[in-house]
Amino acid sequence: MGKTADLLPGTVDLLILKAVSLKPLHGYGVLLRIRQISGEALEIPQGSLYPALYRLEHQGLIEAEWGESDNGRRAKYYTMTATGRRRLREEAAGWNRLAAAMAAVLNTTPEEV
């Protein structure tokens, strides 16, 4: 657990959107996928995963449908909607700008000032 980074507020939604945009997933699958693509560095608290999913569904960014899991159990799968895709693009762009700016600031050396 020690290797996971603390999540900034507001990033949970972004992470979920990204995970779901790659492939329809059930709730637990979202958790695994984020862990996997972040190289095990990011982990969404399990208790707040579902409220976030319900909120995103309520906002029309993702859609839920019951289907069958890999081991033949009934599970709820989340897919991306067009609105969600647009939102993900915007948020990702905003996040990248912020990250680049932060990096630029933090990498500044005394000589560059």
Partner: protein, 890 residues
Amino acid sequence: MWRRALSRVRALVGRRRFEDGMSEEMRFHLEAYVNDLVGAGTPPEAAWRRARAEFGSVDNAKDDCREARGLMLFDELARNLRYAVRLLRKTPGFTVTALATLAICIGANLTIFAGVYSILLRPMPFPEADRLVAVFNAYPKAGVPDDGSTLTNYDERRGRIDALAALAVYRDGTAIVGEPGSTERESISRVSPEFFATLGAGPVAGRAFTEAEMTYQTDHVVIITDAYWRQWYDRDRAVLGRRIRVDGVERAIVGVLPPDFSFLSSKARLYFPLSSNAEEREPKRRHWGSSTHMIARLRPGTTLAEAQSQVDAHNAAVEGGGIEAKAMADAGFRSIVEPLHAGHVAAIRPTLLLMQAGALFLLLIGALNLVNLLLIRASQHVRELAVRQAIGAGRRHVVSAVVVETTALTLGGGLLGLVVGAVGIRLLPLLGTDRLPLGTHIALDPRVAVTVLLGALVLGVAIALPIAWYSLRQRVASGMQFESRGSTASRAAQRLRHGFIVAQIGLAFALLSGAGLLGLSLNKVMAVSPGFRPERVLAGQISLPWSSYQRDADRLAFVERLVGDIARTPGVMAAGIVTNVPLSGNSSRSSATVKGRPRRPGESPRAIYSYSVGGDYFSAMGFTLREGRFVVDADSRRAERVCVVDEDFARRYWPTGGAIGQRVFPGSNPAEGREVEGFTIVGVVGAAKQDRLTEDDALGAVYYPFGHRQDNDFFVVTRTSAVAEAFANTLRPIVRAIDPDLPVNDIQTMDARIEDSLVARRSPALLAGVFSGIAMLLTAIGTYGVLSYAVAQRRREIALRMALGAQPAQVRRQFVSLALGLLAAGTALGVIAAWITGQAMQTLLYQVPALHVAVLAGTAVTLGVVSLAACLVPSYRAARVSPMEALADQ
């Protein structure tokens, strides 16, 4: 936005499925995680523990999910509603009182508001109705504030006033419609060609009138209303071109109006062209005021003020500087442009607003009552509340519980109020509201109902505020004690309750004294003598159609035969005709000059009432002869022209007497070379109230013999020795025997006409009386409730004092003096409120000052008796407290 609402509704409707799905989803998550952990080598037991620990509380997660869907709000609402209903059912007495109070108060407001909305607020049913204006001639210095417009005005202004996109005139009247032997009198309106275009609403079938149809030779066309179409033609599409016999002449139907066509208060069912000839539009007739009215539509982008100044400029241009123009200028002449709807209802506006204010006062009193009763109940629930707060109920929960309960009450009361209001609206015509301008349009409009229910919702929240404040101030600790009387919160609550009682008494005081002022004013008006003896006098209107009574001789012959036939009927004491009966609301005014008494430079011509009389009119109406003789039937045929004036007229010109033998000339200018047009005064009669009982302008009146100044419309007036109403059945056959086509309209006794003329005073007084009766009942309930509670709260204290030897009388006195204190404060507040109310209603009062000592004293005594009666029961109960019982009661 709609998407979220949909998702919320889906979750609400399929609540079961939502909950099941949520449980299944989370179960799946845990099981899948455990599976993975076991697969990685963790023993199942430990895997489950770890999965649960990392997931956290499933219930919390579910709550958060519900919150995400906006379901928490509904859950809490439903919970609070169940709690509120349980609470209300546990106290049926309180609930019934509260609901009844709200139903009556809201119902009263709804009833009045329906009137206010229908008369003052609802726009006229025309496109851009706010651009419609009325234009009328006013001669304020002559005592004539509104004299309509003339055909000359219409002719001169058409197309010449830039600010007015369209201009039209109309004249209301009646006509005899139908085949001989089965005629009926219909309300009609004669209109100029652009009348319907000006309004922006016209015939749905057929066409409007054309310019060519505006002459007496070509005007044989008619446009019918939807009501007439339904009644007589059963909505037959092929009605155009069919003929209607009007006043003995056939008119072809050229148009049918839509069902929703409704012009101001017009009752017209048929529309005719307003025909005229060139003579009637001559410049010299510009000020021959008439029953013709002008409407216009402002051009888009122009203001009322621009239209007014253009009309003023146009008037100045056409008037010129002649002697007539000078006289009119002296009379303060101006053509006024005013908004059509606002002008039409201006006279009734203050009364309606006053009534609405009274209804709102009533609602305020009811609401204060409710707050007090709820406060008392809340303090009885202090312990329960304290327990709830102690086990974690947040402030939000306490507040929302209160709000849900009060809004449930007010909405319930609002729904009942809709029923009460619907009944009230049905009863309104009993108060004569159907005779008000637009009064027949009062109905329970859906928008009014929605407004009232929204108001009920707001009221619920407003009532909740003091209750919530009180509930929150309750300290857990003090609430847990059995006696919480000493706590600061309950002392503040007591002050609040007492303050509300004082406010309630003050408001009831203002309402009661307002009703007293209105009643007193009505009484004073009713005591005014009309100037004639109205008892056992019956008057009915007859209009001779032009087509069959074109010659003066025909009309005079008809009148003489009619009056003679009536006079010979047994039970008739006197009969006569007059062109208008007093207090009919449309007595015509004109001007007259007196020989040898030219107007001084700058002096305004004075309007006077002028009538033509025939038969034995003065005896029939019961006028008093002051001097000389009455004008009698024979004067109509004599070559010598004589007239009678009233004492107001005589006093103005001959303050010291000597009116008999003087000469009067109709018209506003000296009669040089018109000697033959003069009338010699042969008698002076008592002054009568002409327009309304409260008039005090004493304009004066001149009565000419009918034969010398004729009219097609007149009233036949009969004084009977027995009940006057019954004579109506004798009068109609007498008229039909002379002319079978001729109906008699508007047959009423003069007493009834006087009653009718007071409707705008009686109804408000009656309504205010009803309101203040309810207000007093509410105040009594409120005082009783608060004092009962005060006694119950101090039972132990009273018991202790009585155990230590206090007399029952002393205990009683303590509570009576509390009530007296509240009453005194309420009365002081009430006197101030009554003064303000009196000021506000000054314009509606007749010879009654805003602050009337007897009314105030009467109000104080009445309210005092009522509130003391309400406090006697609790006070006596206090004195009967048994020390043993009270002290044992822990």
